[in-house]
Amino acid sequence: MHEFLQQVFSGLAAGSVYASVALALVMIYRSTDLVNFAQGEMAMFSTYIAWTLVNAGLPFWGAFALTLAVSFAGGMLIERVIIRPVENAPVLAAVIVTIGLLLILNSVAGWIYTYTVQDFPSPFPDRPLLHALITTRDLGVIAVTLIMLVLLFLFFRYTSTGLAMRAAAQNPTSARLCGIRVGHMLAIGWGLAAAIGATAGIMVAPVLFLDPNMMSGVLLYAFAGALLGGITSPVGAVVGGLIVGVTENLVGTYLIASQLKLTVALALIILVLVFKPNGLFGTAIVRRV
């Protein structure tokens, strides 16, 4: 029982990371109908930036804040420069663009920072708590994710920009009629998604160790989590990510270790999707005849 709870808690910590990236994916999907396959590599690149800043002597949280700001700007830039040319093109073209971006970021990171695996510092000491049910580091990751989610919720619920972004995602035409610059809202959305991804990358790097391929597994699990929760639902993204994190841990502990773990975890998720093809919280895609 004790081991079971341990795995659940550490699964929640991993799940927090998946939930964050899943949320970023859902945010972009809601506003542009596009799965941003480059989300993981963007997060990885942000993490390398944080790593560089920490190595240059900045205190951890200072580097963290600066990285978030840079990532936000970078995300906006990517939307305006790289995604905008295909915003009226078929969705497949945009998908290919995000895959291309994935390859570019991965390759450039490997070129600048090499493929040597690096250590990444954690701001939280790694000590057991609560009769060794959970470590302080895992608790820290969960806490940071929670704070981020609360801030995002407040932003979208209570600020004008947040409201405008929700409007632009739901009904861009009506939003324009209200004077909202839908293009700007898209860019801000990508900026926020990039910042969320950066947070996830920085939280997970101490555990996974930093290398250009660090986020590929995370992206996969986040994608699965977002779909499990319902690709149109931010709440679903978070719940889905957490479920995936716990499932992955439990499967790895009790069922099968190493590489097949991914296959089994995905198979379970797909099994759920067979019964709920739009995810747990997703709404069916309404088709106009």
Partner: protein
């Protein structure tokens, strides 16, 4: 994003016909010329180049399968590498374990591919868009792992070594040229079959389901049957391509059939033009040559060049190479048709 339908991509004028919209003789002349040139090429090029072109044609067949499913029927697949692997290993196991002659493995691989496609396509009916992407993605990821797991059959990590086919005596062909011609014949056959299906009733049903599924069902099209058929047909093509690749390369191993292969097929399909037949050939060229070019340009970050190539292609030709050319050809056909009418004189209907 073009959110107006569930379509992944489609050629602008909706002219899905293969080949050129110019009238009869023009199209046949061009096709025959192309075939003659293609058949003559291996005698003019070095062994290595012939081998590369053989691979281009094999990838083209695989991409053609993907075009049928994703381009014409609108069902995304990130997992076609898995069906490619299925065909490759079917051929490898039949040849290696049971001594089946290489040419007989092609229909066998096609059959296996079709069955797998239908088995996959049935549950896939429940999924759409990103959900279908995930399911096919899971398959792509599972493939190398499953191949390693069932190692008594597949040879596990080591893979299976094969003997490359010898050309029939008396033709004066070396091995590479023989393989090239086999691939060429297979490609021409694949194009013919695909064109027949796509330009006929099945193809129209597939496109109708892609663009207006509710209207299609209301018109009496059995959506489930056609979607499953699309899946099976698509995977049949790709599996045959896989078998050809095993024969041509002489070696199969789990590493060759990773997620990257599936992604490459999708990229090649999109760059060529996913709702076209000719685009598959362009896609084959892209998959075979662009990674090499990328390496030549920068060996520090070759995949960045590859990614950049993808971006440039999508910015300049969002409907793919062939997809972007088609409207111009249609306009050309319209213009020449009008010129012809004018020459025939006076009263046009």
């Amino acid at each position: 994003m073009d959110k107006s339908s569930a379509a992944i991509a489609r050629t602008p004028l909706g002219t899905e016909r293969f080949g050129f919209a110019t009238a009869g003789t023009g199209r046949w002349a061009f096709a025959i010329l192309a075939i003659v040139i293609a058949a003559a090429l291996p005698f003019a090029l070095s062994k290595y180049h012939v081998f590369e072109l053989t691979l281009v044609m094999i990838y083209a067949i695989a991409v053609l399968g993907l075009n049928i499913l994703t381009g014409y029927n609108g069902q995304i697949s990130l997992g076609h590498g898995g069906f490619f692997a299925a065909g490759a290993y079917t051929a490898a196991i039949l040849m290696h374990r049971y001594g089946v002659p290489y040419w007989a493995t092609l229909p066998a691989a096609g059959f296996v591919g079709f069955v797998l496609g239908v088995l996959f396509g049935l549950p896939a009916l429940r999924f759409e868009g990103p959900y279908l992407a995930l399911v096919t993605l899971a398959m792509a990821l599972a493939t190398p792992q499953l191949l390693k797991y069932f190692d008594t059959w597949t040879g596990g990590q080591q893979g299976i070594n094969l003997v490359k086919p010898t050309p029939p005596a008396g033709l004066g062909l070396n091995q590479d040229r023989w393989l090239y011609l086999i691939a060429l014949v297979a490609l021409l056959l694949a194009i013919r079959v695909a064109a027949n299906m796509l330009n006929g009733r099945t193809g129209r049903a597939w496109v109708a389901i892609r663009d207006h599924p509710i209207a299609a069902a209301a018109m009496g099209i059995d959506t489930a049957r056609y979607k499953t058929l699309a899946f099976g047909t698509s995977t049949l093509f790709t599996a045959v391509a896989g078998a050809l690749s095993a024969i041509a390369i002489g070696y199969v191993s789990p590493e060759s059939y990773s997620l990257f292969l599936s992604i490459s097929f999708l990229v090649g399909a999109a760059v060529g033009g996913i709702s076209t037949i000719g685009g598959a050939i362009v896609g084959g060229f892209f998959i075979q040559f662009v990674p090499n070019f990328a390496n030549d340009i920068s060996d520090a970050a070759p995949w960045a060049i590859y990614g950049l190539a993808m971006l440039v292609c999508m910015y300049t030709m969002p409907h793919g190479v062939v997809g972007s050319i088609k409207p111009w050809l249609a306009r050309l056909a319209q213009w020449t048709g009008e010129q012809r009418k004018r020459k025939d004189g006076g009263n046009s209907p």
